[in-house]
C-alpha cells in the first residue's frame, strides 16, 4: 500500500542521483544553492515540501533536508511531517519537530505536543511535555494548540481538571478563527461550564463554526434549524439545505475533527 520512496536505501540512491544532477546544474551557472542565495521564504519551502510529499520528488526531499540541516525551522517542520507519514521514518519525525520547535516554529511545537499526548506507543506518552509544547505553540497564536491545551486542562490530563482555564484556551483558539474551538466554546456557553451560560453566544459561535464547515457544527446547526427558523446571524437557511451541505462535505471533512 505505501510507496517505499522514503526508505533509507532509496533515499541514498535518490540523494546520489540528485547530487550528480545538482553538480551539473551548478556547472550551468544557476544561483540555486541555499548557501549562496537569500534564505527561502516560508511559502517557497512549503511548495518544495508539496513536491517532496505528494510528488515524491527525490530532489525536493533532498532540498528539504538541506534546508532542515542548515537550521531552517519551516523546513525542519516540513521534513518532520514527511517523516511522520511513513512507518520506517516516523521515529525521526519527533526529533525534527522538537528541533523546529526550538527554532520557534509553532506548528512543529503543536505536532510535538500531539505526539507526546497520544503517541502510537502508549509508553512514550508524556503529558507534561505535551502541555509544554502546546503552550509554546498556543502562546505563538496556534489555534489547534490552544484547543488541544484547553482540552487537556478541562479534562484533567496531566493536571487537575479546570474547566474555566480550559475554556479560556478554547476562546483564544476561537479568536484565532479555529472552527473546532468555536464549537467546543459554543458547547461551554450552552452548558455554563467554565463560563457563564449565554445562549446568544452559543448560537453565534455555532453558526461561525458551521460556516467554516466543521462537521459537528454543521450537523447541530441543521438540527436546530429543523426545529426553529434560525434567526441569529446574517442568514437563515432551511434545515434541508444545511443537511444537504453537510452531506456533501462528509466526503471531504472526515479527517477535519482533531
Amino acid at each position: 500500500m505505501r510507496n517505499n520512496c522514503l526508505s533509507p536505501r532509496r533515499a541514498l540512491i535518490g540523494i546520489t542521483a540528485v547530487m550528480l544532477c545538482a553538480l551539473g546544474f551548478f556547472a550551468a551557472g544557476s544561483q540555486w544553492s541555499s548557501i549562496a542565495s537569500p534564505p527561502p521564504a516560508s511559502a517557497e519551502i512549503e511548495a518544495v515540501a508539496l513536491q517532496a510529499r505528494w510528488g515524491q520528488s527525490p530532489q525536493a526531499q533532498w532540498q528539504l533536508r538541506q534546508w532542515a540541516e542548515a537550521g531552517q525551522a519551516v523546513a525542519q517542520r516540513e521534513l518532520a511531517t514527511l517523516m511522520a507519514s511513513a512507518d520506517d521514518t516516523r521515529s525521526e519525525a519527533l526529533m525534527w519537530y522538537v528541533r523546529a520547535a526550538s527554532n520557534q516554529d509553532a506548528e512543529a511545537a503543536y505536532q510535538a505536543g500531539e505526539i507526546y499526548r497520544a503517541p502510537i506507543h502508549p509508553e512514550q506518552r508524556d503529558w507534561a511535555k505535551a502541555r509544554q509544547y502546546y503552550l509554546q505553540a498556543a502562546q505563538a497564536g496556534h489555534g489547534y494548540a490552544a484547543l488541544a491545551l484547553g482540552r487537556m486542562i478541562k479534562n484533567g490530563e496531566g493536571g487537575p481538571a479546570d474547566a474555566e482555564t480550559g475554556v479560556m484556551w478554547f476562546r483564544r483558539a476561537a479568536e484565532r478563527g479555529n472552527a473546532q474551538a468555536k464549537f467546543l466554546l459554543a458547547n461551554a456557553y450552552a452548558s455554563g461550564e467554565g463560563v457563564a451560560k449565554d445562549m446568544d453566544k452559543y448560537y453565534q459561535l455555532l453558526e461561525e463554526s458551521a460556516e467554516q464547515h466543521f462537521p459537528p457544527a454543521m450537523h447541530e446547526l441543521a438540527l436546530l434549524a429543523e426545529q426553529r427558523s434560525v434567526t441569529h446571524g446574517a442568514h437563515a437557511e432551511s434545515a434541508s439545505h444545511l443537511f444537504k451541505e453537510a452531506e456533501e462535505e462528509r466526503r471531504n471533512r472526515w479527517q477535519q475533527i482533531r
Binding site: 510507496n3 544532477c21 545538482a22 546544474f25 544557476s30 540555486w32 516560508s42 511559502a43 512549503e46 511548495a47 518544495v48 508539496l50 513536491q51 510529499r53 505528494w54 510528488g55 515524491q56 530532489q59 525536493a60 532540498q63 497520544a118 502510537i120 488541544a148 482540552r151 479534562n155 473546532q180 467546543l184 458547547n187 450552552a190 452548558s191 461550564e193 461561525e208 460556516e211 466543521f214 462537521p215 459537528p216 454543521m218 450537523h219 447541530e220 441543521a222 438540527l223 429543523e226 426545529q227 446571524g233 446574517a234 442568514h235 432551511s238 434541508s240 439545505h241 443537511f243 444537504k244 451541505e245 456533501e248 462528509r250 466526503r251 471531504n252 472526515w254 479527517q255 475533527i257 482533531r258
Partner: protein
Amino acid sequence: MLRYKTRTRTTLLVTTLAAALPLLNGCGSSGGIAEGTTVQLALLETTDLHSNVLGYNYYSLSADTTVGMDRTATLITSARSENPNNVLLDDGDVIQGTLLGDYQAVASPVPCSDTLAVHKAMNALKFDGGGMGNHEFNYGLTFLSQVTNRDFGITSVPKPNGCGSPTFPLVLTNVSGVASQKPIFDPYKIITKTFSAVAPGGSTVQVPIKIGIMSFVPPQIMSWDAKNLTGLVSVDGPVESAKKYVPEIRSNGADLVVALSHGGLDASAYSPNMENAGLYLSQTGIDALLLGHAHLIFPQAKETGGPAIDPSIKALPASQVDYVNGFVNGVPAVMAQSWGRRLGIIKMTLKYQGGKWVVQKDKTTTEARGFKYTDGKTNVAADPTFAPLVAKEHDATIAYAQQPLGATTDFEMSAFFALVGDVSAIQIVNQAQIDYVKTYIAKALPAKAGIPVISCSAPFKAGRNGPTDFTDVTPSATSSNPASLQVRNPGDLYLYSNNNVQAVQIKGADLKNWLETSAKQFAQIDPTSTAEQDLVPSYATIYNYDVFYAENNALTYQIDVTQPIGSRIVHLMYAGAAVDPNADFIVATNDYRAGGGGNFPGIDGSKTIIKSPDANQTVVSNYLRSIKVVTRAGNDTPSWSFAKVTTAGPVILRSQSGKLAVAQALGLARVTAEGAQDASGYAKYAIDLSK
C-alpha cells in the same frame, strides 16, 4: 524547484520578445480591427453544481424547487439574451453530490458509451469551458478519466477511448501525475469566440476574442481523497501554478485570462497548502476571478430581500475585497453559491487600443444572480426542455432508491418505544458499527485488538418533529412473512447521511459519564407523587439519547429515573462484572458525537482513535447486505432497562397513536395502555416502571 527557476527565466525572455512583436507593427489596425473598437461581453459562472441536474430530493422522492440546473438553465437563457457576447464557464464540483451522482458512479456506473447526466445537461447548455473541483476526485481517477475522456498519462488508469464526455474544454492547472510530472488535464486552454463589437463609427463588426482559462483545486484533495490519489498525482500551490502559466497564456494570444478558482477567499498569509487561495490568485495577472468551493454568494445578493453578505466575506480586508461591487484586489470576481441556485455574471467592456484589447475597468460590473432575481419573491420557472434530457437517469435513480437491498427482516423495527426499552431500530445500527470497527482494528490498529469494542446510537426519529415522526421500518414483517428491505431503508434506520463513522477509546469512568449524560433525557420521577409524570418531557434533543450495546449483550445497565441527573446509571456491567472505572473500551459512534456534539464529558475529539470516510448509513447498509437476514430472535433482548420502581401515580410516555400492539408484540410489559392524546397529537402511553 530547479526547473521552475530556469523555466521562469526562459519564459520571461520569450514573453518579452513576443510582447515586442506587435509593437513593431506600429499603432493602427491589426487584422482589420479599428483603433477604438469596443466590445461588451459577459463571463457567466456556475459552480458547485454537485450533480443537481433537476431540482429533486432523491431521499424523500419529491421535487425541490430551490435547487437544480433546470432553473439555472432559465437564468442562463436570460443572461445570454441580455448579453449576446457571452462565455459560460463552470468552476467545478460537478459530478458528485446527489443520489443521481452516486448511482451513475458507483451503483450502476455509466458506461464509456454513455455520457454522465450532468455532462449531458452541460452540453445541452453549450458551456464554453470548465474547471475541476475537489469532488471530481471522489470516485477515483479511472472514473474521472472515463467521464472526461481524458488520458491522464498514469499507468494504472486505463486510457479512455471515445467515451461520452463534456463537449467543451476542461482544464486543471495545479494537479500533475507523479510519474509523468505533467498536468493530468490541459493546464490551460484558450477559447476563441466571435463577438459583435462596435467600431468607432458606430458600425457592428465581428471580432475574435480569445479567453484563456485556468483551474485550481485545493491541495487538500491529497488528504480528502488520499486513497484515490496517493502516489498517482501531486498538487502544487495555486499561486505557484498560476504564475507558471499566465505569461504563456498571454504570449499565446489570450485577450483575457480567467482563473477558475475552486476555492474561496481567505486573507491569512499565503501558503501553497491554502484551501481557499482566491485572494492571492487575484494578484497573478488575471483579468477575472471565478470563485467556488465555499458555496457562498459573491458579490452581495442584489435582489430585493436577498440574504446579507456572508460574515466570513464581510470580515475580509476592505482594502482588498469589495463585496458590494464584486472586486478582489481590483479584479472582478463572482461566486455563484451552489447547486445551480445562482449564475455569476461579470460584464466587461474591452476597447481595442494599440493593437490589443484593453479592459475598461470602470465599465465592469458583477452579479451573483439567483432564482428570485426579478423581484425577490418569484422563483424562476424551470426550463421545460431540461427534464427530458435526463429522464432516463432520473427515473433509474428513483428506481434504485426503492430497489431491494438484498436483506430481509422478520420483525418491525421502530422507535415508538425506544425511550422505554425497545431497541429494535437501534441494535442493528450498533451491530453494524461494531462489525465495522472490529474489522478496522484488525486491519489497521492491531495493537488495540484486545480492547472490548462496544457501540452507541440514538433514536434520531422518535417524536422530535411531531407525533408521527417515528422510525418505523417493515411494519408488516413477521417470522412467517419476512419483509424485504429497500436500498432506502438504511436511511430510515440511520437517519443522517452526513455522519461518518468514528471510534473513541475511553475508560469505564467515561462510559458511566456518557450514560449519565444520555439519561438526562428523562425527567426525575417522584415515586410518591400521584400526579401524572411525563417520562420524557421534550424530544428536542432525543438524538443525544445514546443507547449502548456490546456483542451478545455483554454490556448491560439500568436507569433509575427516580434519581437526579448524574446518578441514574446503576448495575453497569460488562461480561458479567461491574464496569471498572479504569478499564479501556473502544466505542463505535459517529463524527458528530466523537467531535463534541451533545457535550458528553471528555468526548471532544481528544479520544478519537478511528476516523473513517465511510458514512454510518453506508455501514448499516453494507452490514445488512452481508448478513442478509435480520431476525427478531437476534435482536430482542435490550441492553438496558429501568431500575424497577412502583410509583404512586401514572407515568406516561408520549408516542404515536395506535401503536400499543407494537409494544405488545415486542413483549414490553411496562407499556400497559394507550391513553388520550395530548394537545400536540401525541398519545400518552401508560408506563408501569415496576415491570
